[in-house]
């Protein structure tokens, strides 16, 4: 089953009208693929999906989970975490406190990765990490800090590739087929709802990571979100984007110093 681009526009309007959720700036190619997938998964045609969005309680929430990409890993791109440790944290260590925002954090794997890196560098006790997403369900999962043990094996490989000198297993307790992130690593962490499309600045941060979120937005929305991230950063704070994402406009580029080109790390200088 597949939705046409034409019907996709109708669906975007419907979601906006009925649920007040604005998907207009989302990449159409990705949205088309995700919506077609929902139609396949639940055997729905276009009329069914519209009907469910209007009349079935809970359907919109499920729709939102399926439409947004919630693929994440701990220590995804190990070389990014090496760059963070070597080029960003020494600078952050000179601040009295470190507020971190992981924007679009999904189920929290990146938040806990950041916590581990901060802890290793002795900075965690004066750090606070906010993880935000548009999705209530993924945030609930993030709060629990429970991860499938099979996945932890893969994350352990990632962690080793960050050239860490300790064992990944020091940070969680394995029971049956699940790993629970140690309580200590969850105490300076807060997960909450934030929509990059419609919500504004809510704090001032020394470090913001927003990796592989912008790729799902069209260029005008990317521009909007980048401005929001810029405004949420303290002067000399750091912004980390996904490896293939860019700052887009020259106007914004002038306000940042490129710290690491390959890892897409920037420092706000103006």
């Amino acid at each position: 089953m597949s939705i046409s681009f034409e019907n996709l526009e109708k669906l975007i309007d419907l979601v906006n009208n009925v649920h007040g959720f604005d998907l207009n700036g989302y990449s159409r190619a990705s949205l088309k693929r995700r919506v077609s997938r929902i139609m396949d998964l639940f055997h729905l045609d276009f009329t069914d999906i519209k009907d469910n969005l209007v009349n079935t309680p809970g359907f919109f929430n499920m729709f939102l989970i399926e439409v947004t990409v919630n693929v994440t890993e701990m220590f995804r791109d190990p070389t990014f975490f090496i760059a963070l440790r070597e080029e960003v944290l020494p600078y952050l260590a000179t601040f009295p406190y470190i507020k971190v925002w992981s924007a679009g954090c999904s189920t929290g794997e990146e938040v806990y990765s950041l916590v581990i890196v901060l802890k290793k560098q002795g900075l965690y006790d004066r750090s606070f990490i906010y993880g935000t997403d548009i999705n209530h369900n993924v945030l609930e999962k993030a709060k629990q800090g429970i991860i499938d043990l099979k996945k932890m094996k893969e994350y352990s490989d990632n962690y080793m590739q960050t050239q860490a000198d300790d064992s990944f297993s020091e940070y969680y307790t394995a029971r049956y087929d699940a790993a629970t992130i140690h309580h200590d690593l969850r105490k300076n962490v807060l997960f909450s709802i934030h929509n990059l499309v419609s919500d504004g600045v809510f704090n001032e941060f020394q470090l913001i990571t927003c990796r592989n979120v912008l790729i799902y937005f069209n260029p005008p929305l990317q521009q909007h979100v980048l401005t929001l991230l810029y405004e949420s950063l303290a002067l000399f704070g750091f912004l980390c984007l996904g490896a293939r994402e860019t700052l887009r406009s020259d106007k914004l580029k002038d306000k940042f110093r490129l710290v690491n080109k390959k890892q897409n790390i920037y420092q706000k200088i103006a």
């Binding site: 159409r28 190619a29 693929r33 693929v71 790729i215 799902y216 990317q222 293939r244």
Partner: protein, 205 residues
């Protein structure tokens, strides 16, 4: 299986995009095809290859020096403009927007692959429809077979490397088994076809 006959020639006129896809065993023939493409090719080219995102590869760089047509890694929301070959970056699916810009996507691997050939082919079929030619080369899994079906259903032209010439025939055979193929070409025929691609696209028969 038929070769390039009158009907295929008719479909080739007005083509707007070439999609090349390969996996294990396909790099050499892919390289030969890229070398054969004219530097003034009238259409954009997308290339999807399976490679491990964890290791650095610079296939694009090494090929650029030896090809007439310019080659680069596809950038996020970049417009597809000829003459240019865009490689999908490792670790991302490549999708095409209705305005012919490229979107990258890091959702679940498909057929254990990211980039997945099926994913890009479906997206290209959605956007370019009958204005697509896809060439599927050697590979060790079935990625691409569903995608070729989508392109065929959208009215595009599906070309498969002759499995007898492919180092690993699983991928071309999977597409052929689904009937998602208009023509089967040997390596030499593929190279000749690509050398003459401008003629095929621009001449009305």
């Amino acid at each position: 299986m038929r070769k390039i006959d009158q009907q295929i020639r008719g479909k080739l006129h007005g083509i707007e995009l070439l999609l090349l896809a390969c996996s294990a065993g396909g790099f050499k023939v892919l390289f030969d095809i890229l070398k054969a493409l004219p530097g003034n090719l009238a259409i954009g080219v997308l290339v999807i290859i399976h490679r491990n995102a964890k290791y650095e590869t610079n296939i694009e760089v090494s090929m650029t020096a030896k090809c007439d047509i310019p080659i680069k890694v596809a950038e996020e929301k970049e417009l597809i403009k000829p003459p240019m070959v865009y490689f999908a970056p490792p670790g991302y699916h490549l999708l095409v927007e209705p305005d012919h810009s490229i979107s990258l996507d890091i959702s679940e691997p498909v057929n254990f692959c990211r980039p997945s050939i099926d994913v890009t082919m479906q997206s290209v079929a959605d956007v370019y429809g009958p204005s697509t030619i896809a060439i599927l080369l050697s590979g060790a899994n079935q990625d691409g077979a569903q995608g070729m079906t989508a392109i065929q259903q959208a009215g595009g032209v599906c070309i498969v490397q002759d499995p007898e010439c492919a180092e690993i025939k699983t991928m071309p055979e999977a597409a052929i088994a689904l009937g998602a193929v208009d023509i089967i070409l040997t390596n030499e025929e593929l190279v000749t076809f690509c050398k003459e691609l401008n003629k095929h696209i621009l001449t009305r028969n």
